[in-house]
């Protein structure tokens, strides 16, 4: 008999008092019992609406059925047929807009906790499964992957499985891309990312850190001097956007990228035991409504801020952040100032932030994004006293490769133009995927794109060989 509870089996969380004082993961994951209980809520619909909502087509009812039967490792293997990084996606996918959005159980009550079950299967495997490096017949064809974020890791994994000699080039000193510099530990433990990377290196993937392709090495040199037969560009969307309002130069104004990189990659919260400092005032304003804004706000709270505001120009309904992140932020005492837009940042005589002037907004007509356009309420300007401002309004692709690669077509936003869904760029044997192509999007889309490009590279190079 299916479990007909209208609500998801609750997710166990870390103790409340630890929530805002440590960077430990907040959601602890299901026990076997909880996972089975939640799996029983799945009706195993014939028409599988959930699968159509998954960007990489994970066979959701199948893996959930395996969980019901206690065949957890097999459930994991079922997921990895199409999703290379389930432990990560189970944690960071916006399921409410994907698989769970189409779940039949969601019509009357809450959808099945598909993300939570995916995470359970993956965590179970990481804990109990035995990593068997698949038997791979090497073909000694060299492929370069630029960037070690979700797109790059997925592409490298898929190519390695198919026998290619893969080298990942990473600009930072540590691989993982946004998974290590962007997403905080309390949402995605770095240990999990490391395990995924270890699995790749066990399959023979080489990782070269401290190499900026476009500066240290050019793409044409990868072909001509280093003997690579194909290149995949998965360099993400790393360039932070600013508001271009008065006062953004004041000390105490961060891009979310800088703020989060100092914390996640450089471990600035351990200063002075590590050398990288971070400044967090007692009152912090985070501008933006996406996952990055939530991550920055919750990080600021953990670093000792008393009052943390999310300032977002639309209403909560339009926030692009995952539902769960918004809820977690609220549980942790983040103050939401929605329908509020920054006008300028105010500074003191020492050039430090002392406040942010905002204006109230109302929602007007529907704009090209399909959302109601926010419009200023005249005369509603007021100042919120803060001493740190974090700008989290989005990122655009990094121009380093574009600027140094002749013939690589990009659009006006700086995104690499691809000819098809397999990531073929304007240059032969150069493929691209993830945020570098789409602009800032999701981990799962990047991963899917990396994987698809790997298949296209395989097809192309095999074709060349014959």
């Amino acid at each position: 008999m299916p479990n007909m509870s209208p609500k998801k089996t609750p997710m166990p969380h870390i103790e409340d008092k630890l929530r805002t004082t440590t960077f430990k993961e907040v959601a602890l994951g299901y026990s076997e019992e909880e996972a089975k209980q939640e799996a029983e809520r799945c009706l195993n619909c014939k028409h599988r609406p959930c699968v159509s909502g998954c960007p990489v087509g994970v066979q959701i009812p199948d893996f959930i059925s395996l969980i019901k039967e206690g065949r957890y490792i097999e459930a994991y293997e079922k997921i990895t047929e199409t999703n290379t990084l389930p432990a990560i996606c189970g944690r960071v996918c916006p399921q409410e807009n994907q698989c769970e959005k189409y779940c039949v159980r969601g019509i009357k009550g809450e959808s099945v906790g598909i993300g939570r079950l995916e995470r359970f299967a993956a965590d179970y495997y990481l804990k109990h499964g035995e990593f068997k490096a698949p038997k791979i017949e090497k073909n000694n064809i060299k492929v370069a992957v630029i960037g070690s974020g979700p797109a790059g890791l997925a592409c490298a994994g898929e190519l390695a499985k198919r026998g290619y000699d893969v080298t990942i080039f990473e600009a930072f000193h540590k691989p993982g891309g946004v998974l290590v510099y962007g997403i905080p530990e309390f949402r995605l433990p770095k240990e999990i990312v490391q395990k995924e990377i270890d699995a790749l290196t066990q399959m023979g993937v080489k990782i070269q850190t401290n190499v900026v392709v476009g500066k240290s090495i050019l793409i044409e040199e990868l072909f001509n001097e280093y003997g690579f037969s194909a290149v995949f560009i998965g360099t993400g969307a790393g360039l932070p956007s600013f508001l271009n309002i008065e006062g953004e130069s004041y000390n105490g104004v961060y891009s979310a990228n800088e703020f989060l990189t100092r914390i996640n990659l450089m471990k600035a919260y351990e200063f002075p035991n590590v050398d990288t400092p971070i400044y967090v005032g007692k009152k912090v304003a985070v501008v933006g409504g996406g996952n990055v804004a939530m991550d920055a706000a919750r990080s600021a709270k953990r670093l000792g801020a008393d009052e943390v505001y999310i300032i977002y120009r639309r209403s909560e309904k339009e926030m692009p952040a995952r539902r769960e992140e918004v809820e977690h932020a609220k549980e942790e005492g983040i103050i939401f100032k929605v329908l509020t837009n920054p006008v300028r940042i105010l500074g003191d005589e020492n050039y430090w932030v002392k406040g942010i002037e905002v204006v109230d907004m109302v929602l007007g007509d529907v704009d090209e994004s399909g959302r109601q356009k926010p419009v200023e309420v005249e005369g509603s300007n007021h100042v919120i006293d803060v001493n740190t401002v974090i700008i989290a309004i989005g990122q655009t692709p990094n121009p380093l490769i574009k600027n140094t690669t002749k013939g690589l077509e990009t659009n006006k936003k700086g995104c690499i133009v691809t000819k098809d869904e397999y990531g073929q760029t304007s240059l032969e044997n150069v493929y691209a995927g993830g945020d570098a192509v789409t602009g800032a999007a999701t981990v799962i889309l990047a991963m899917g794109a990396g994987r698809k490009a790997a298949m296209a590279i395989d097809k192309k190079l095999k074709g060349e060989k014959d």
């Binding site: 000193h173 130069s249 050398d275 400092p277």
Partner: protein
């Protein structure tokens, strides 16, 4: 890991190191920079490339021990390794097509103005090198500068080397003597670069300065290095580090530089505590 091939003490707190980093050496050009991290706990610190040897695969850096990471770097010896060394980053200086240039270095900035002077010299430009230091004990690269300039003036704030005055005094003097420069390169403390630009603006001489602000990744990701240039926000790492000195908002940059002063003191204090433990 990147091996320290050579270490040389240039003055009390200024050291030179040649680092084995073939990929960086292969591509390095005057005006570009690297980012290093001494050890697992270290900060990512940007340093402008002072010289490079493509055959040896080495890059020379010159640094002043001002913060925890540079002090830790200074304690490393020849044959030892540093953890991370990334580059070359930023854009090379555009130095082609000039006839007569004054290349000015202030203090440690001389280490950065040196490769620019050398590049200009090799391009056939008449180079007047000016370098200023607080006192004679702090002078660096005097011999090197002489070799790649047609005229070289080393000055000290206190006159202890026999020439007294700021670099700006020397520049004014040279212009007054009738030298017609079509380029001035000024690299050093922000106050100095600002003062040079105030003079050259008056004479309408194009002036290139090099910014070295706070940054983390050096590839355009953090935005920490943003400066105001000609009313726009620019990232020193990807748009620079060289900029038209007459367009840079130095006052803004000077104030931004102070952001982590308090932390730097704390880190140094910690560094001394650790130093004492080791002693």
């Amino acid at each position: 890991m990147y091996k320290i091939l050579k270490k040389k003490i240039l003055s009390d707190s200024i050291k030179l190191m040649e680092i084995h980093a073939p990929l960086v050496a292969k591509k390095a050009q005057a005006g570009q920079f690297i980012i290093f991290r001494v050890d697992e706990k270290g900060e990512r610190v940007p340093l402008t490339i002072a010289d490079y040897d493509r055959e040896k695969g080495s890059v020379t850096i010159i640094f002043q021990e001002v913060g925890k990471s540079t002090i830790k770097l200074g304690q490393k010896e020849e044959g030892e390794y540093i953890l991370d060394f990334l580059g070359p980053l930023g854009n090379p200086s555009h130095l082609e097509g000039y006839k007569k240039a004054a290349v000015i270095g202030g203090g440690l900035g001389t280490a950065i103005s040196y490769p620019q002077a050398k590049t200009l010299y090799n391009l056939g430009c008449e180079v007047h090198a000016i370098a200023g230091f607080r006192n004679k004990d702090l002078i660096i690269l005097e011999d090197e500068l002489k070799q790649i300039s047609h005229r070289c003036i080393i000055t000290t704030d206190d006159g202890s080397n026999g020439t007294k005055g700021f670099v700006t005094d020397i520049l004014k003097q040279l212009i007054a003597e009738g030298n017609k420069y079509d380029l001035v390169v000024a690299i050093g403390p922000l106050m100095m670069m600002k003062a040079v630009c105030d003079i050259t603006r008056e004479y309408g001489i194009k002036t290139i300065i090099s910014m070295n602000p706070i940054m983390i990744d050096g590839t355009g990701m953090c935005g920490g290095c943003r400066i105001r240039v000609g009313g726009e926000t620019k990232f020193a790492c990807v748009d620079g580090p060289d900029f038209d000195g007459h367009l840079v908002d130095f006052d803004d940059a000077i104030k931004r530089q102070a952001m982590y002063k308090k932390f730097e003191k704390e880190a140094l204090h910690q560094c001394r505590l650790e130093g004492m433990k080791n002693a």
